[in-house]
């Protein structure tokens, strides 16, 4: 078997090493395929599916971030089917999740003519803002379920395993075991999850405080409180 494969992407021929993903090959041709869940530093799981492309006019569209280039493939990165899927995914996502602090997704909404009011009367995934540790805030109403935080906390980086998923389907949410506060979980506050979160769901407390118009002093006060609270409970 040859270790290089040749295919066409939007009519342009390209030869790449076997195993190259369609996303990588497209990038080499300066063709931009949109992504939401994909991140250089985390395992790709093919979750968001906005990267889908049409390969050989197949029955199914293929997620470019996890699909390897195949010899002789004819790939279209943007046709009617692809556009419908991307637009509908974006519209559904926007109808469920607070995306106001996800500028990259907002740009995609515009690019794909996604109608922000497409799904009236739709149940949104709403969660209370979680303020349970001195370092970061968790607002899962803004969570798109890209899995990055769970992955960096686990085998992709930290091997701490503080985070998991609760529920399933539409009701899936990022959780600790039994939803215990972060300081009671194995979390070591390395901040990697905050670093990879593509929306405002995970946010350094300082940034959050500034957005709320708090003074640096007030922020410091507020970050100290939870820790003290924890010491008290440990004594008691």
């Amino acid at each position: 078997m040859s270790d290089r494969v040749t295919l066409t992407i939007d009519g342009q021929e390209i030869t790449v090493p076997a195993g190259t993903t369609l996303l990588e090959a497209a990038a080499q041709l300066d063709i931009e395929v949109p992504v939401i869940c994909y991140h250089d530093a985390t395992t790709s799981n093919g979750l968001c599916r906005v990267c889908v492309v049409d390969v050989n006019n197949g029955r199914l569209l293929q997620a470019a971030c996890v699909t390897a280039c195949a010899n002789g493939g004819k790939v279209e990165t943007r046709n009617e089917r692809v556009e419908r899927s991307r637009r509908t995914i974006l519209e559904m996502l926007n109808s469920a999740v607070d995306l106001h602090q996800a500028p990259a997704i907002q740009t995609l909404m515009t690019d794909y003519n996604a109608d922000p009011t497409r799904f009236p009367d739709a149940e949104r995934r709403e969660h209370a803002l979680l303020d349970d540790n001195p370092f970061y805030m968790r607002d899962y109403s803004q969570c798109v379920l890209c899995w990055r935080c769970v992955q960096v906390c686990a085998e992709d980086a930290q091997y701490t395993f503080a985070l998991t998923f609760g529920g399933r389907g539409f009701d899936t949410h990022i959780a600790t075991a039994f939803d215990i506060p972060m300081p009671e979980s194995p979390c070591v506050f390395c901040g990697q999850c905050v670093g990879v979160c593509p929306t405002g769901a995970l946010k350094p407390k300082i940034q959050w405080g500034m957005e709320q118009g708090m003074t640096p002093d007030e922020i410091r006060q507020s970050t100290r409180r939870p820790r003290r609270r924890r010491e008290e409970t440990e004594e008691g």
Binding site: L93, T164, S185
Partner: protein
């Protein structure tokens, strides 16, 4: 009752792959799996607590919070719904003075709706779990059913007819080893045919898998036999959770040894020494009968070490699912056995090279494997006397709904749907309106399509599917909108949530179907966009078929989702 320590004791040297059985033991004993239990499981199996919590919340039969002593789950999917499941839920709640999903003040009872229990021929059906008791029960129920007698209800008898796979099955009797015979086909394979010979016979049959994906069985076996990794595994897929499907239950309850011999022949052919039977948690009777059969066969030396004095050894282990349609998908099933949430994997790689524990694995449906002993004993050509050139052998179908004799029937593919309904099922009750072919993931057929020959190829040609062999029949009294609503709820309940199109689409699809009697402007178009997006862009077969019935309904009935005759 056993204490937590007693339950944990046999698991001391086990690892993550023992998580599912351990969670079952604890759930059964205490009715929930709380923080203390999770803490100790974490130590015993060396699995992070968060992961264990994630697994518990994935399954609908596990609970992280205390539950009632007796939980009655009533199936409200289309067939049970039509047979009055709603009235049953209300009736039981009324008796107990509670609302849905509420527990009586004394902590004794709770009633909740659930998805298909595979007892569609005795609709409406309920699953009864009582903690402290080893076994669950599945039983037909009526609104007046006395809740205090529920555990004693577990007797039912399905209508069954068939000459090959279902030979001697009457829906009640379980075939013993003495009646079945001492695995003659396996003996012949080991002493005469050899592994390649077995695969050769299967290849001659052109057998197509019965689990729904319609993949040629011999191809799968050959690829797995040739794959490099060791050890290799056989997984018998007994998760049967497709709405309207109960043929595997009838087979397992009636002929457990036929299935075990099929599993053994597959293991021998591909070079595996360990096999799992993954059975849905809602099938207590089938589970029990299979386990007894495994014990019986092992005792007689037909399973276990050095079978028939050869160097072929095989251990068969049963794994119980815990309420997730998703886990019938082969890769999600592997994840479940490995002790993870039942998320499907991205394919490729395929199970033939990277299956269970990332090793080469054959996954086959119960029915597929049960055809093997006959094929090996009589030869591949024998199998082709039934069916058509492309749909060879006999095929089981599960028929429910408005027919006089719902049940499981073994047919020769090629007979028409009309013949099936008339000859086997005693005809349709009332005037036929539609048939939902292939399960929740299938498509609607109308009376003008009744002459379609029941084969993989003919059904595909009319853009329908054999699917899991589920055939749900609806007469003129059925309300299509109601059927669709129930299907919508089913997929919303069962989506695993991994990929966006299905995680979001099943919810949005359900919402639109819920309001289908008073739709909003644009709802038909919304349903179409959601449906096509799920179909084309979802990661796994669940999402890819979650809109199949809905899209076919929109095509068949232009009046659906219209306001005063105007499409919206």
């Amino acid at each position: 009752m056993e204490s937590l320590a007693e339950i944990l004791a046999p698991y001391q040297d086990r690892r993550r792959d023992a998580l599912l059985p351990l969670l079952w033991d604890i759930q059964t004993a205490f009715g929930h799996i709380g923080p203390d239990a999770v803490h100790q499981i974490s130590h015993t199996l060396r699995v992070p607590e968060a992961d264990i919590y994630g697994v518990i919340t994935f399954y609908s039969l596990f609970s992280a919070n205390p539950t009632a002593e007796t939980v009655i789950r009533v199936c409200t999917d289309p067939i049970c719904g039509m047979a009055g499941a709603g009235e049953v839920v209300d009736g039981l709640c009324h008796q107990l003075h509670i609302r849905h999903d509420e527990t009586t003040p004394d902590g004794k009872y709770a009633v909740s709706p659930t998805t298909c229990l595979g007892l569609c021929d005795h609709a409406p059906a309920a699953l009864i779990s009582q903690h402290g008791h080893r076994e669950l029960a599945v039983a037909p129920v009526i609104p007046e059913t006395d809740v205090s007698t529920l555990s004693g209800l577990a007797s039912y008898q399905s209508n069954v007819s068939g000459e090959i796979l279902l030979k001697g099955v009457d829906g009640k009797h379980v075939e013993s080893l003495a009646e079945y015979g001492s695995y003659r086909a396996l003996h012949y394979a080991i002493t005469t045919l050899g592994p390649e010979g077995v695969i050769g016979e299967v290849e001659k049959t052109a057998l197509i898998g019965r689990g729904g994906a319609a993949f040629p069985t011999a191809t799968k076996w050959k690829m797995t036999r040739q794959a490099m990794g060791q050890p290799k595994y056989v997984v018998c897929n007994a998760d049967e959770s497709e709405v309207g499907t109960f043929k595997d239950r009838v087979l397992m309850e009636g002929r457990p040894h036929l299935i075990l011999e099929g599993v053994a022949l597959c293991a021998y052919a591909i070079g595996a020494t360990k096999a799992y039977i993954f059975i849905r948690g809602e099938y207590p009777k089938a589970t029990q009968r299979l386990q007894l059969a495994i014990d019986e066969a092992t005792q007689m030396g037909l399973l276990g070490a050095n079978i028939f004095g050869s160097d072929f050894s095989l251990e068969i282990e049963i794994r119980r699912g815990a309420g997730a349609y998703m886990c019938g998908e082969e890769t999600a099933l592997f994840e479940a056995i490995e002790g993870n949430r039942g998320f499907p994997r991205i394919k490729p790689p395929y199970p033939t090279t990277h299956g269970l524990f990332q090793k080469p694995t054959v996954v086959n449906n119960v029915e597929t494997l049960s055809t093997i002993p006959g094929i090996v004993e009589h030869g591949g050509e024998w199998f082709k006397q039934w069916g058509t050139e492309k749909s060879t052998g006999t095929k089981l179908v599960s028929i429910s709904g408005h027919v006089h004799r719902p049940g499981v029937y073994e047919i020769s593919p090629g007979m028409s749907l009309r013949q099936l309904l008339e000859a086997f099922c005693g005809g349709v009750m009332g005037n036929l309106q539609t048939v939902l072919m292939g399960g929740a993931a299938g498509t609607f057929l109308t009376p003008d399509q009744l002459d379609v020959p029941l084969t993989f190829e003919d059904l595909r040609a009319i853009r329908s599917t054999f699917g899991s062999g589920a055939i749900m029949v609806f007469n003129e009294t059925a309300n299509i909108g109601d059927i669709l609503r129930r299907l919508g709820r089913f997929f919303k309940h069962e989506s695993c949530g991994k990929c966006f199109p299905c995680q979001l689409g099943t919810q949005r699809q359900m919402e639109i179907l819920e309001r289908a009697d008073a739709p909003l402007m644009g709802d038909r178009e919304r349903l179409r966009d959601i449906g096509l997006t799920m179909t084309e862009a979802s990661l796994c077969g669940l999402g890819q078929t979650a809109a199949s019935a809905v899209l076919s309904a929109l095509e068949k009935w232009p009046d659906l989702l219209t306001v005063k005759g105007q499409p919206v």
